[in-house]
Symmetry: C2
Subunit: 349 residues, 2 copies
């Protein structure tokens, strides 16, 4: 099995993706195709000693910048590293793609090259909230700012399949991110989604309030992409703010500094528990392939984790299970959605 | 000036509202009308010594529970404490109302008894994010789960007037809570609101990303009530989680416990900085009166802070400024909104 790593994607590319690939190969024995500018990749590899035989280079002559308009860039730059990486998967040369690049471009490239799984109206990006032992998959966290109820119903199925196949959780508990616990709470979207999930074959446990978003009694938390993005980013901002304040408070006196030195291991451990990157990356679900989106600022360690997750997902049978779950009718709502959107598998081979 | 305090509202009523009223009177010299069951209020007052002359009791024979359906309860229980408190303000006997009761009931009662300010389609509840020195007013945080663009434009004006009059901030900086900085980012709602705010007379500084929701460079942060509620509750949940984890980590060894003892003052100060209750309460803006919503679990200290905020708001000329800002046309969008909603001042005297 080979994992295609977009060597040109991310704020720290190509250095960190290349280092991460080496780490993954050396510590986990995963074979990797580094996709991008061969010169740049070779130079990076050379700085880390002899290149192992399990690391190959797949040339791609173009790069999509972090701030480029994704859809246009993906269509115009046919030789962009992310496009070439997706083609590798499409052709069966790679089993999964990992990229820390422009998220919109990863999504657009996956749609263009791989297409959607039949029955999926919109692919979603899931983030793994790392506050619990296994973690909670929150989706969508940004791919779809405006959602119809049927999208969220499909996100729920996709999330459940992911947690079941990749993390071995039986009958994953699915919750709906909402501003109140009761069925009648929320906006029009969440009220409609609640009704659909209640009738679905999923293990739906009801609404989850925002203060339990990271440690509620669920494995999958469903949301529209706007709200999910808000929840994840607010979390990061608050955690960063608190640890920043803690640092300032501690620095204000020698007494505090000495006490903090003693507490340091405990604080470091806590800090890492808040880190969305620890779980390795965000799966892009609903496309015909295994795609893991790493953080734009991912370092080698985070890239290694993302490669490991990609391998795990590719090995898990997740994609076939996803096809099975989404292609078969789940509920009336789902059937209608598919009927209203017969072209949903248009781009599939 | 008399502030009407709903003595029966909140999880800790009547004990904490009564104690809070006494605190506010004794430490700040504010005169207070305690609205509710006279027997219960008198019993509470008696347990704190002789009742000062600046504390009066206004009888109300009914109570709306925290979990009652708000609109129906407000209409059926005409003698509910929150209704009687609003009537006190309507009749000029009180200058403001403070309640820690059922938020929906406070809102419904305010609409029924006081009505909306002309030009306001929907009142909003603002929460004061306490992470910066002055604080940031986030609104709406839950009164309106589904919003039209015109609502958010009005929230922006209401928030700006509030921060200007009550907190003395000149030309308050108004931001829009959104999932990206650029004008084109977000969902349909935020994109439309961005365009409106850009054309408005307000000091609009653009989109604010969720990780800066508490310490971004703004004084007012505008959002639909669903998203605003998510942002505020996620914050509370994350802060609580981190401090909980900190406690667990610290308790795990004697070394840590001793170090934590030294750090305790710094940690306590930080904790209070995260507390939305510290700023005194959430204003209900857009109704014809000054209404401060205290947290359902507000203790005497929080109730005292809410009473102080109510007095400050009542003294500030906020309500007249709000009428001036909302009744005069701000933009084309606003004019359309008012034209489409000619009954917006129907309940006003």
């Amino acid at each position: 099995m080979i994992i295609a790593v977009d060597a040109m994607g991310g704020d720290l590319a190509p250095a960190e993706p290349v280092r991460g690939a080496l780490l993954a190969h050396r510590s986990l024995g995963i074979d990797i195709a580094l996709v991008g500018d061969p010169e740049a990749i070779r130079a990076e590899l050379a700085s880390h000693g002899a290149t192992p035989s399990g690391i190959e280079i797949v040339p791609a002559s173009e790069v999509i910048a972090m701030d480029e308009a994704p859809v246009r860039a993906v269509r115009q730059k046919k030789q962009a590293s992310i496009n070439v990486a997706m083609s590798q998967m499409k052709e069966g040369a790679a089993s999964a793609v990992v990229s820390a690049g422009n998220t919109g471009a990863i999504m657009a490239s996956a749609l263009l090259k791989l297409g959607r799984v039949a029955g999926v109206e919109r692919p979603a990006i899931g983030a793994m909230a790392p506050f619990t032992e296994t973690g909670i998959l929150i989706l969508d966290v940004g791919a779809n700012a405006d959602c119809k109820p049927s999208y969220l119903e499909q996100f729920a199925y996709m999330g459940a399949v992911y947690m079941e196949t990749v993390f071995g959780i039986e009958r994953p508990r699915v919750g709906l991110l909402n501003i109140g616990e009761e069925e009648t709470k929320g906006n029009e979207l969440t009220q409609e989604v609640y009704a659909r999930l209640k009738q679905s074959r999923l293990n739906f446990v009801g609404n989850i309030e925002p203060d339990r978003v990271h440690h509620g009694p669920v494995d999958v938390l469903v949301s529209d992409g706007f709200t999910g993005n808000i929840a994840v980013k607010v979390t990061e901002g608050v955690a960063e703010f608190i640890f920043g304040e803690l640092k300032t408070a501690i620095s204000s006196s020698l007494r505090y500094k000495l006490a903090a030195l003693v507490l340091r291991p405990a604080l470091m451990q806590m800090r890492s528990k808040m880190d969305y990157g620890e779980h390795g990356g965000a799966p892009l679900l609903g496309v015909n392939g295994v795609v893991i989106v790493a953080h734009g600022k991912a370092d080698a360690q985070a890239m290694k984790n993302a490669v490991r997750l990609a391998q795990k997902a590719a090995n898990s049978g997740m994609l076939d299970a996803l096809r099975g779950a989404l292609e078969s009718p789940q509920s009336e709502g789902h059937k209608e959605a598919v009927a209203a959107n017969p072209s949903s598998d248009e781009t599939r081979a």
